[in-house]
Symmetry: C3
């Protein structure tokens, strides 16, 4: 069965696979950062997570929200809201046969913008750092969606 | 490398690409609507977002939740919960070689139902408008999942 | 157009399609469980959802959060955060031409771990059941990402 390896031999598809994997792994890192802040800030959402801190009221006080934990969680949700459309539209875009250089431009800018967005959210950098990096990633995805719709349109 | 352009020549795949791109862009619009309500309602989640309203307590009062903002955010999350399965299962379904007319029926009903769902959520329309449009999209996705599992099953 | 049916004839891709469909349907079930708890616990997020319980204050008291509803919602969000990367990275991985047995091992462990995770979250089981099942699914996805990046890397 050579079929599946042939797609991965396509340079545009390889570039897509590379950047999609990188940015999905970056999104997954948000889980680890959330866990890190939950443990260091002792701020949990589930009673069973605080059982190791003792019983009763001594454990209950760790069932709370923490500003840093909530910040990471907002960043994670923003990733989901933006990386999911990039993954989906980017896949269709890569299959539409764009120029390699154009495709690389889209993928690189998106990945760079989202990595910047994460730093801007977590440090946090003053606005409009976060807003701008969000908008750049958004615009890249819309640009790819335009290409997909103009190439594949079949209503 | 003609491989990647061949897939996009397949009519079922083109139909999938069209509706998937449309519905992902629709989901992305929720971000803009959230931003619109956050700005007009002056209700932000991050201290750095309120810096332009002044310093100290004058800015802090804009760190609040707003019913309209929360409504859009619930709609956005509901999109993620439903459009992600549609995108994933729909992709596998499109690759299973369904009839073009059957596939179009699935994609059109799903896209229509989710657009209705957004209007039902944001206006808001009285129930069961929102519940019904949600259920229709859900049923379409389950129908495609059934086709994928009966065609591709390999445990 | 035989192209799209050829991909689904590939055994690795069929295995991917099977487990991806199963785990996406599992994620969709979280919506039904949320709806079940919202109705039985009478805990809703939207005023229009409580209209059938009467008007005014008699309905307003059902606009509340409930511990069981919030638990299911956290489980659903955790699914989104973990199943989306699995779906995306797993797709790229399946197209990289791994051994069938290695691929099946990855898909089966991930699906099993996420089903366990759901039970651990909803029952709930004492920790580290939930943490461990989460970590196993996470490790499987990272392992596939490593394979994708070492096979397809094109920066």
């Amino acid at each position: 069965m050579a079929k599946s390896t042939q797609l991965i031999d396509n340079e545009v598809f390889r570039a897509y696979a590379t950047y999609a994997a990188i940015i999905l792994v970056k999104m997954m890192l948000m889980s680890l950062i959330t866990a890190y802040f939950r443990i260091t800030r002792k701020a949990f959402a589930n009673p069973e997570d605080t059982a190791s801190f003792g019983k009763g009221d001594s454990a209950k006080k760790f069932l709370r929200t923490d500003a840093d934990v909530e910040r990471v969680r907002r960043g994670h949700l923003n990733d989901l809201e933006n990386i999911v459309p990039f993954f989906g539209i980017g896949l269709l875009y890569a299959l539409c046969g764009p120029d390699l250089s154009t495709a690389l431009l889209h993928f690189r800018i998106f990945a760079g913008a989202r990595i910047l967005h994460t730093f801007a959210y977590l440090i946090p950098l003053p606005q409009p750092s976060r807003g701008l990096s969000w908008a750049i990633g958004y615009a890249v995805t819309i640009s790819m969606a335009y290409r997909v719709l103009s190439k594949a349109l079949y209503l």
